[in-house]
Symmetry: C2
Subunit: 484 residues, 2 copies
Amino acid sequence: MPALEIARTSPNILNTVYQVRGAVYLAAQEREREGKEVIYTSVGNPHGLGQIPLTFLRQVLALCMAPFLLDDPAIADKFPADAILRAKEYLASVVSLGAYTDSRGAPLVRKQVAEFLERRDGLKSPGVDNIFLTDGASAAVRLGLQMLIRGTGFRDGILVPIPQYPLYSASIALLGGVLIPYELDEENEWGLSLDSIRTAIAKARNDFICPRGLVFINPGNPTGQQLTAEQLKGLVTICHEEDLCLLADEVYQDNVYGNARPFISARKVLGEMGGAAAEEVQLLTFHTTSKGALGECGLRGGVVELLNVPDDVVGQMYKLASINLSPNVPGQVALGVMVNPPAPGDVSYPLWAKERQAVLDSMGRRAAAITKALNALPGVSCVAAGSLYAFPSITLPARAIECAKEKGLVPDVFYCLALLDATGIATTPGSGFGQKDGTWHFRTTILPPEDKMDYFCQAISDFHLAFMDKYRGPCCGSVPGSKL
Amino acid sequence: MPALEIARTSPNILNTVYQVRGAVYLAAQEREREGKEVIYTSVGNPHGLGQIPLTFLRQVLALCMAPFLLDDPAIADKFPADAILRAKEYLASVVSLGAYTDSRGAPLVRKQVAEFLERRDGLKSPGVDNIFLTDGASAAVRLGLQMLIRGTGFRDGILVPIPQYPLYSASIALLGGVLIPYELDEENEWGLSLDSIRTAIAKARNDFICPRGLVFINPGNPTGQQLTAEQLKGLVTICHEEDLCLLADEVYQDNVYGNARPFISARKVLGEMGGAAAEEVQLLTFHTTSKGALGECGLRGGVVELLNVPDDVVGQMYKLASINLSPNVPGQVALGVMVNPPAPGDVSYPLWAKERQAVLDSMGRRAAAITKALNALPGVSCVAAGSLYAFPSITLPARAIECAKEKGLVPDVFYCLALLDATGIATTPGSGFGQKDGTWHFRTTILPPEDKMDYFCQAISDFHLAFMDKYRGPCCGSVPGSKL
């Protein structure tokens, strides 16, 4: 009887589901191994689909990585003065990208985060001791959840929007907590209903669950919507009344396009509310280098700021972070540049601003194109794409649902596998995020490059029409180009 | 009642102790804030104490970070051809350092790890599907322990050497497991006794603990010793008989100096044993970019290979890794270069070999100097320093122990705080690693630069003599230069 065997694996691990890299992703990998092309729209991974990094950030990082470049005038002349200055500044703080920093991250970067948050929100930060840099925002979220969930037996609950980003469901399951769902209203552009949250809390308490935290994702993932100041105020009020820690997943704050409602942070709302709430509501604010115009997912730069959290709890989080010694240092520097980018008047500002705007404009065009293409299809309805995602609802024919069940597949997994098989487009089934009973969705990113957008939209259309056609007819025909 | 409060924090978190960044480290930080110098020998962080990164590695990473350098002949001419080739090769595999890779890491790097392990040990690797790249080896160790420990209530036990690296005690406590200690024998150069391991297993079973894994650290941390092939064979045999997963922490495999016994991996021993053990013993092999001659701690490049682990369990680990999306990509590239460095005949080989040897030679000289200086002190006895550490035993005067108790401090913490206060040298108390009852130690790295080594040894000597002198006399006098 080996030590590592499924029969003796933690039930929490076995019960954890993580579909972003689930069945469809695994099938996509298999397809790649067979030498076929795959367009991964299952993960928000901009560089993976050809997005170019912002030049200034990479200049700073390259100089930090190879400080000997700074000593060679022939090379140093090729870099703008502000990138050189910035690299020297970070190196003076961290010594080397190869040195552990403090387990919360380099003090200089944490200071830059504090200043950024204060500038953005007009609300003072408790300062560097309450700011933790992490290997990606996912690690920061896990750290927060770990502090809130005491594990199996305690029935600590976390309110999570449905649909949600499955980092939450997976981490809560792993920690032995209980996910308390509150539904977003697709009919109302994925709007948030404070009443439904209050109902979810009451029901949870009635089920002997102890609600400890409330997660919101704004702009949404997978749903892309922006919350209003009024809704954020409502969330703060609920957290205040119900003693919940508010977890503000605001990693898509720069991914707002066109006429969409502008991003407002929970921190800003909290500050403007003032009074007891501003001093008492515990707020964890998350941010990352992975999204926005940077899209630097692979650098794993994440951060969380803790507001109104007592020092002894911060100390326990520091201890947890310490076991990991140090977040990766290139990611820290990237985060520092992100929150403190070139400013008007700096040598690198024009290029930075131009590149940044070009990325966001292009994303806006792609979001609009995908939304339009999806809404043109019969049985598909898509709230305007935002963040990095479109999350269309698909009305599946009864025979498709029947066929899926015969194959032991959730119907939207069945649909996404067929889409992959027919087109090479890897998406994530709605069931991985949670969805209202009886509805089916899939999530695609808006990241396929613009020159492939026509093909991409056309391929989805062609597939969808063929799929609908097939399952209108009798079962077990074949979708053109698909094995399913 | 706020959500985040100590009274409602997980008991496993509260019970976790992590002294590498404990009381002495926190006091050192405070001292730095007061503007005083601190020499951090509490953490094995070579670049933090001035070690220079190996040029070739940083050339490859800088080119990967700023691919536009490759397009500019004026710059590209400044880089050796093999660094350019290597950067292009990694970029072809990962697309961008800013793109998520597969959650186990980039296939190219995992392939290079497999080839390295096969070359090193003459034993076939199960291949890339069984190799996980991680943000530092600590994350890899946690992943392994997570698969073995089912949590509070199950009493899953992990055998850990005492003294140990506290990553193990901390992670086991956090996961709700039980640490089963087995003592290394200081009298016998921190030798490993198979009998004491068997006794520890029997005792654990008698206490209704279910032993699931056995950790060894070779070369040792904090103890620096090398295991013999015979001892490793014994460990494999015990694991085979007792159904334990063997966790091989071999991150210091390149940190072997002078006349010390050469490093032998558990993988190699397993392969040479052959038979049922070679096919059945589950072995997790850990490695990192943080130690050896690279010392690239801040890049957080870690890896684990899983031998004889069933595919369904590997699948569960893959799911866990997926929740984190991707290990940081610069760290992955660094690990790739580490396991596949320039070879004889390559343009960069002479410089790589020279720099690498210079680092290791210097470490060897420093290890010898520290060992000698410590052994010259009354009441101090130090087995030859190895890995990155010296772990001297200190016979503390009874009055020092009494004074420590009066202040509510563990005696070796008291000693290390006094050392910090008098000299600015931050070490880690032996109690953070575990030690035989009634003995006291501290751990220092061997990393202070050679030009500061005389000062470093002298400062410890002066302090120690004054400390011993003081506590020979009546209590509550003052150590010169110390507040304690």
